[in-house]
């Protein structure tokens, strides 16, 4: 289901002289709404899951309720809905000293970064909004768009804490892009393609007869590349142990200290959207995308969607698990992890994968 498919489907029953541009716009709109729906549903579910999982990990019970009324539904199921309503109803405060225009734009810029990255995400064998031949490159490019939004928000708030958060975030995301990109280059070498679907298709088959031929199992170097990418990815979405831009015990709330109500909700939405992007790339690049773990079993268009979402959920769960276990790194330690540990290993891996492909593949 690419955008092209939608256009072709429209053309099949609309008069032939119908303007192709308007068809194109309609198709893009449909895809956009679908992606937005995915993001919103993800946020709804992930927030609830995060609340519950964190509660269980901490010997609590999390949001609970016994019935309608003031309670958040059975087992607190309606907690996120209630949160959303609260956020919508909240007063929207713009500080007087803030740079008004930038302050308003910033949340949308951040949101946009996550949103357009999802356009090239392959949800199933033929369920992708735009199947580009440079898909992974595109996602890497646009997902770092979000940092501009963070810096805008930090600067526009005219708040010292926000500024600290913005500076930290910029330094962090720029540093962690490099090991992340390098470990993805290793994957690109293995699949010799930049297309998302191409990378997934290159992971078909098995290794040693029983393991799926996913990149994580393909060779020892890409096994480590997976961890490098995952750690860098967690850092890119600003989650613990790398949540220094919003470190609540140091910077109050970092770059979104001054935001409230719906504007703040957009930061929240895009944080979970970014998690989706990073989890998606991890799944595509290392965990075989929509491929079934056992070859030839449960394959097909809808099974593909199922596998993709399952794997993605798993990766997101691990991120949540991380968050509720680890302390936070300091700024300089964060940088030294990126430059002194992740980068050398990523380079070494890249080299190893290159040799591996020459010798074995």
């Amino acid at each position: 289901m690419t955008i092209d498919n939608i256009i072709i489907w429209f053309q099949s029953w609309l008069p032939a002289n119908f303007s192709i541009i308007s068809l194109y716009l309609v198709a893009v709109l449909i895809a956009a709404i679908a992606i937005f729906a995915i993001m919103a549903v993800n946020a709804l579910v992930a927030v609830y899951a995060e609340r519950k999982i964190s509660a269980f990990m901490q010997d609590r019970i999390g949001p609970m309720g016994q019935g309608p009324g003031l309670h958040a539904g059975k087992w607190g199921l309606l907690q996120t809905v209630a949160d959303t309503i609260k956020l919508i109803l909240k007063e929207d405060i713009i500080p007087r000293a803030a740079d008004r225009k930038l302050f308003i734009i910033a949340p949308f810029v951040i949101f946009l970064g996550a949103f357009i990255a999802l356009a090239a995400m392959p949800w199933g064998p033929n369920l992708i909004a735009a199947d580009m031949n440079i898909g992974i490159f595109y996602i890497l490019a646009v997902s770092s768009f979000g940092v501009i939004g963070i810096i805008l928000a930090a600067w526009a708030s005219d708040n010292k804490w926000s500024l600290f958060g913005g500076m930290r975030s910029a330094a962090q995301i720029i540093s962690y892009e490099i090991p992340a990109a390098l470990s993805l280059v290793a994957v690109i070498l293995l699949g010799s393609t930049l297309s998302m679907q191409g990378i997934i298709e290159s992971q078909a088959g098995t290794v040693w007869g029983f393991l799926p031929n996913w990149n994580i199992f393909n060779n020892p170097f890409s096994f480590f590349a997976f961890f490098i990418y995952f750690i860098a990815g967690v850092a890119e979405v600003n989650r613990t142990p790398f949540d220094i831009p919003e470190a609540e015990s140091e910077l109050v709330a970092g770059f979104h200290t001054e935001y409230s109500g719906m504007r703040w909700a957009f930061f929240f939405l895009s944080e979970y959207g970014n998690m989706l992007v990073v989890a998606g790339i991890t799944v595509v690049a290392f965990l075989g995308g929509w491929q079934s773990p056992i070859e030839g079993v449960m394959q097909g268009a809808w099974w593909g969607l199922f596998w993709f979402l399952t794997k993605m959920t798993g990766v997101i769960m691990i991120m949540i698990w991380f968050r509720w276990t680890f302390p936070r790194l300091r700024v300089d330690q964060l940088m030294s992890v990126a430059w002194k540990v992740l980068l050398p290993i990523a380079l070494f891996n890249l080299f190893g994968v290159a040799i591996w492909t020459l010798l074995v593949g």
């Binding site: 964190s54 990990m57 901490q58 010997d59 609590r60 010292k160 600290f164 500076m167 613990t240 142990p241 949540d243 220094i244 470190a247 609540e248 015990s249 140091e250 109050v252 509720w324 276990t325 680890f326 302390p327 936070r328 790194l329 300091r330 700024v331 300089d332 330690q333």
Partner: protein, 373 residues
């Protein structure tokens, strides 16, 4: 070519900030992330404790001492009543002595749990904080069945305690201690030995021996700097000379002696020592006796003054009490250990990063109620 000109930025940490442990304001000068100068500004929680004491009778001051260090109220009561008892020369019954020690040590565990938990929170670990609160909650339950209050007890009186232990208290205490000892191992695994935590706290905010003494820092902070000084051991008050326990000191296991990790570790070890003391006290305690036996008809210490120190979870808690023989004191001065610990902050935290300053502040374990009084 113009020179790049960089100014220092003045930043106010607090009075409303998640990591200042109360309403403390730190005026800091920052150069990027580096903090070059710190000025603590206190007094936001000043409730005129010493002025109040001039108008109250001796018994009525006890609930006010609760409110000074609200994390370890039992220990505050303890120091105050011991001072008055020493002035009046009252001998309390054996059972009361044991009950007091048990309560004070339980409160020390509760206080250290809160200190360690919030220290973890300052470093960014959320989960250990809630584990520790869970255990603290159980201690508060024990206090509640005894005296009805969970935080501000007014439990210890001059010459006795307000209530005898309830039925089943001893068994419940043993049950709690058994479980707690298991839990402490888990805390070490999830927090103390965690590499990120060690990186954040070891070698950070080193408080050398001589500086610590010079500033009058006491308690776990002083012991973290490697000085074996514990009033319970060195100047035993009440019946602390009857128990066998160690005084843990910082050894610089993960970094250098006197760093944040050492202070953290001393507190963690002290909880185990408190468990030992409570076990011995529960074993030896006389099973029955009237806790109100030695209550004086009127609390009227003779004319004179006293400076009495006890070991509260934060350090040497001193009461300077002047009596003129009437029903109320002329002057009650509280020498609060957190006050002196905070005064050393600007010395040890300057030159560190913003994140470190808050970690160092957390490791000093201050309670603003006690600092501002």
């Amino acid at each position: 070519m113009g020179l790049v000109h960089a100014d220092e930025m003045t930043l106010n940490i607090g009075p409303q900030h998640p990591s200042t442990h109360g309403v403390l304001r730190l005026k800091v000068k920052t150069d990027g992330e580096i903090i070059s100068e710190i000025t603590p500004i206190i007094g936001y929680l000043h409730r005129c404790f010493e002025k109040h004491c001039e108008t109250l009778s001796y018994e009525q001051i006890i609930p006010f001492t609760d409110r000074c260090d609200y994390i370890a109220a039992m220990n505050n009561n303890f120091g105050y009543v011991l001072a008055i008892e020493k002035m009046m020369d009252i001998q309390v019954p054996e059972r009361v002595k044991y009950i007091r020690v048990i309560m004070a040590e339980f409160n020390r565990i509760a206080s250290h749990l809160l200190a360690l938990g919030t220290f973890g929170l300052d470093v960014g670990a959320y989960t250990p904080f809630l584990y520790m609160f869970r255990d603290r909650e159980r201690i508060l339950d024990l206090f509640e069945i005894t005296c009805g209050a969970r935080l501000l007890y007014n439990y210890m009186w001059v010459g006795g305690v307000s209530h005898d232990l309830p039925i089943g208290f001893v068994e419940a205490s043993y049950r709690f201690l058994d479980e707690f000892e298991k839990n402490t191992k888990e805390y070490h695994n999830i927090l103390s030995y965690n590499k990120i935590f060690i990186e954040r706290s070891a070698d950070v905010g080193v408080l050398p021996k001589d500086v610590a003494i010079d500033y009058g820092v006491t308690g776990p902070n002083l012991r973290g700097s490697g000085i074996k000084w514990d009033l319970r051991k060195d100047e035993p008050y009440s019946i602390y000379d009857r128990f066998r326990f160690n005084v843990p000191v910082g050894k610089g296991t993960m970094g250098s002696v006197g760093d944040c990790w050492d202070r953290y570790w001393v507190r963690a070890e002290e909880m185990n020592e408190s468990v030992k003391i409570i076990r011995q006290a529960l074993d030896k305690m006389p099973r029955d006796g009237d806790v109100h036996e030695a209550l004086p008809k009127k609390v009227r210490p003779p004319k004179g003054s006293i400076y009495f120190r006890t070991e509260s979870p934060r350090g040497d808690l001193g009461y300077y009490i002047i009596s003129d023989g009437k029903g109320g004191p002329t002057r009650v001065k509280m020498r609060s250990p957190a006050f002196t610990a905070l005064s050393a902050l600007s010395e040890i935290a300057s030159g560190w990063m913003l994140s470190d300053v808050l970690v160092i502040l957390g490791s000093l374990d201050i309670v603003l109620g006690e600092i501002d009084r």
